[in-house]
């Protein structure tokens, strides 16, 4: 028995879309409500589901390639192969070398000073991840008075935002990030076509940042400036220019000094 709306009706294709998991939002809710009340549509959904599952059971992995053919493709048609065989022979010795190297790196990491670079490159990673993200900020606002309170309760310290009225930077927003398991504020700024990040964390002496406070340094093709003030550790990261990063760092510094 046909139903005027879905089965046999104008929205017939929606039944299939529902079964194919393509129906979303209101359309999905409407159909679900309808199916709950209309027995012919409910039966049709059942039938479509059963058919879909039957086709999958009957057709998926129906044909499996012969070992000979698999070998022909994976060994000859694809470029990986030579390295693989090479890897099988050399893997044990490479593993040994890798372990030695890891040990060396670990010892070096424990030397004071080197964790500075480690922390910086982690910061650069955070910045790059933000630039690559579809949602680089969790609070979207150009208004410092929206962004600052957003961090309240999310971080164990207050984040002071610079007054950008006379600056060429615009605030895009902020989000909470973690550095060595400590929560901090990430602030995203726009400068012309570029985006720069400022990060604020609670100062942690174990990070052993050292280095030259207030001096812009180059790290993985980014400029990084870091300093400590009022128990907080600040970083500014950007790829525009050293001056630019220093400008934003200056603005951040004056903001933290005001309050």
């Amino acid at each position: 028995m046909a139903c005027e709306l879905y089965w046999g009706g104008s929205k017939q294709l929606e039944l299939a879309a529902f079964v194919d998991n393509e129906l979303t939002g209101d359309a999905r809710r409407e159909l679900e409500a309808h199916v709950a009340a209309c027995s012919s549509c409910a039966a049709e959904v059942q039938n479509l589901l059963r058919l879909k599952n039957s086709v999958r059971r009957a057709a998926a992995q129906r044909y499996t390639p012969s070992t000979e053919f698999r070998r022909r493709i994976t060994e000859r048609a694809l470029p990986r192969r030579r390295e693989r065989r090479w890897a099988m022979v050399w893997a044990p010795s490479l593993a040994a070398v890798a372990i030695v190297l890891l040990a060396v790196v670990w010892v070096l990491q424990r030397q004071p000073g080197s964790s500075l670079t480690a922390t910086r490159s982690e910061l650069v990673d955070l910045h790059v991840a933000e630039l690559a993200s579809a949602n680089p900020v969790d609070v979207i606002s150009t208004d410092q008075h929206t962004v600052k309170p957003w961090f309240e309760g999310k971080l164990p310290f207050a984040v002071n935002l610079p007054d950008l009225a006379k600056a060429e930077f615009t605030l895009l927003g902020g989000r909470v990030v973690y550095l060595h398991q400590s929560p901090g504020a990430a602030l995203l700024f726009q400068y012309r076509k570029h985006r720069l990040s400022a990060y604020v964390f609670q100062e942690n002496t174990k990070w052993n940042i050292g280095g030259a406070p207030g001096k812009v340094e180059h790290q993985d093709s980014f400029w990084v400036e870091t300093w400590s003030a009022g128990g907080l550790r600040y970083f500014v990261v950007g790829d525009t220019s050293a001056e630019n990063v220093d400008q934003l760092a200056g603005l951040m510094r004056s903001a933290s000094e005001v309050e």
Binding site: M1, A2, G8, Q12, L13, A16, A17, D20, N21, E22, S40, A43, E44, N47, L48, R50, L51, K52, N53, S54, V55, R56, R57, A58, A59, A60, Q61, R62, Y63, T64, P65, F69, R70, R72, I73, T74, A77, L78, P79, R80, E83
Partner: protein, 176 residues
């Protein structure tokens, strides 16, 4: 091709080997031809890998290569001559199973062979759409991308494919 993009290609293409082979068999209905199809698809994809936009859908891209390779093969060209009037969206004659039809009967596991035959008998345009949806579990958008047709056509082809399948399965039960 440098080693790095070769590695990247293998990393993306190798996990799809079994699916591509299965799909090739379903398209060509012949194992020897399917092997040629898979081999040619990998060769073409590897050669054209530079033109693949990183971050876009690799699966849709390589399935599309396979499907176009098939359509230009002898079997594919023959299959293409089957005329389709599916593209006038909205004019699709929709499945209207009668209420007495105990459809559940036809879809039991024991009827797998019947289902296989019915899928094999579908015209290629319906067969490929149905398989991409039900076996590869691609979204309508991915199917549209793979087949180079609008999403609306994906929906109408699926509806037609399923209707043909149901009719064929009912026929089988009647015959036996």
């Amino acid at each position: 091709m440098n080693t790095q993009s070769g590695d990247e290609f293998a990393e993306l293409a190798l996990p799809l080997f079994d699916s591509l082979y299965n799909f090739a068999c379903w398209l060509s209905r012949d194992r020897a031809e399917a092997e040629d199809l898979v081999q040619e698809t990998y060769a073409k994809a590897l050669r054209g890998f530079a033109s693949f936009a990183r971050g876009t859908n690799f699966r849709a891209w390589i399935f599309r290569i396979m499907r176009n390779t098939f359509l230009n093969s002898r079997t594919g060209l023959a299959a293409r001559t089957v005329t389709l009037d599916d593209d006038q969206a909205g004019e699709v004659e929709l499945a209207q199973a009668t209420e007495e039809t105990p459809e559940s009967l036809y879809f039991e596991q024991s009827n797998q062979e019947a289902i296989r035959e019915a899928v094999e008998d579908l015209p290629v345009a319906f067969r490929e759409t149905l398989l991409l949806a039900d076996v590869e579990e691609m979204s309508y958008r991915e199917i549209a991308e793979t087949l180079g047709i609008p999403e609306g056509t994906v929906m109408s082809r699926l509806a037609r494919a399923r209707k043909l399948l149901r009719t064929a399965l009912q026929g089988k039960v009647v015959r036996t």
